[in-house]
């Protein structure tokens, strides 16, 4: 029943980063660098994916006073999210050669 995810370019880029290593938890800064997406696009996208149940997030287990910086928020694909992301990327691979070239 949750809102459907519109598979835009940035969404596919984020999905690709997660699908490449599904068990790896990633922070927003890391995702921004790996997917080459600006913060203005990334955080609303992460919120949408989390609301739709594709991603789960948790706080870094570190004491901010000891680390000297605030805690990071880590994102990870959920099991249904992984299936959906893989399917979305597979659909893209079979759609058109031009899109495949863009995706690679």
């Amino acid at each position: 029943m949750a809102d459907e995810i519109r598979m835009s370019g940035p969404t596919l880029k984020v999905c690709k980063v997660f699908v490449e290593d599904p068990k790896q938890e990633r922070s927003g800064a890391e995702l921004s660098k790996l997917a080459s997406i600006g913060s203005g696009t990334l955080y609303p996208l992460l919120q949408r994916l989390e609301n739709a149940g594709w991603l789960a997030s948790k706080w870094e287990e570190v004491d901010p006073a000891e680390a000297g910086r605030p805690r990071r928020r880590f994102y990870k694909l959920t099991a249904p999210g992984q299936k959906k992301a893989q399917r979305a990327l597979a659909d893209l691979q079979t759609s058109a050669p031009g899109v495949v070239a863009w995706n690679s």
Binding site: D3, G38, S39, G40, T41
Partner: protein, 222 residues
């Protein structure tokens, strides 16, 4: 005269160069502080979610190395705050019909539209019967369109079959017995409104009342 002009231009260039350098230096030196300030202001726009995003964005700010990256991140967070706020306020109404011998059909409506939704509810709640009738007619056509969109989405290959099926259901009035479920989603959470939906289907004038109550309780925010 030319000598004076070049002398003045030289002085301006010298002073401008020094001031520019000082300002650039200040901008670089104060980048972490200024960016943290921008992020705190951005997080303030998110109301209840302020704490979470402020901490997350400040942590991500500390991972940015160059001054350009820091400013880019801070401005991005400011833009994100507006988008996240709009997304969070989005209220979607789902009516899921279980059509016998056909399958489920999901009809969706965006209740957080700033103009169309309040305008439509104002027309059906109008004291002029002509305006009210026009509002209901427009609503019925829109519902039908959304229903067809829902069928196309779920069963694209069975569209021609559905047209025949729906005509038969309208003719023998079995359409009124199709069971349905009403859900409203906000902040990604789904709430069951089936009992209210059933009451509205019995007495459509309750719809306007239900909308006003949702506005009063701030389920729907402008």
């Amino acid at each position: 005269m030319e000598l004076l002009t070049s002398f003045l231009a030289g002085i301006f260039a010298f002073v401008g160069g020094i001031l520019g350098n000082v300002m650039a230096n200040d901008l670089c030196a104060s980048a972490p502080r200024t960016c943290a300030f921008i992020i705190r202001r951005a997080a303030k726009r998110l109301g209840n979610h302020k704490g979470r995003y402020e901490e997350e964005w400040l942590a991500d700010l500390s991972d940015r190395e160059t001054v350009y990256e820091k400013y880019n991140h801070a401005i991005g967070c400011f833009l994100s705050a507006g988008r996240i706020r709009r997304q969070a306020r989005k209220v979607t109404l789902y009516v899921v019909y279980t059509v016998p011998h056909f399958g489920p059909v999901e009809v969706t409506f965006n209740l957080s539209s700033r103009i169309i939704t309040p305008l439509w509810f104002a027309t059906i709640g109008s004291s002029y019967s002509f305006v009210r009738k026009c509002g209901w007619a427009v609503g019925a056509v829109y519902f039908l369109v959304r229903f067809v969109v829902g069928v196309r989405k779920k069963h694209p290959e069975r569209m021609p079959q559905f047209a025949k099926f729906a005509t038969e259901a309208i003719n023998n009035k079995s359409i009124a017995n199709w069971p349905f479920e009403v859900r409203v989603t906000k902040y990604g959470k789904s709430h069951n409104f089936t009992s209210i939906g059933k009451a509205v289907s019995q007495q459509p004038s309750l719809l306007s009342f239900a909308y006003e109550r949702m506005r009063e309780k701030k389920v729907i925010e402008r």
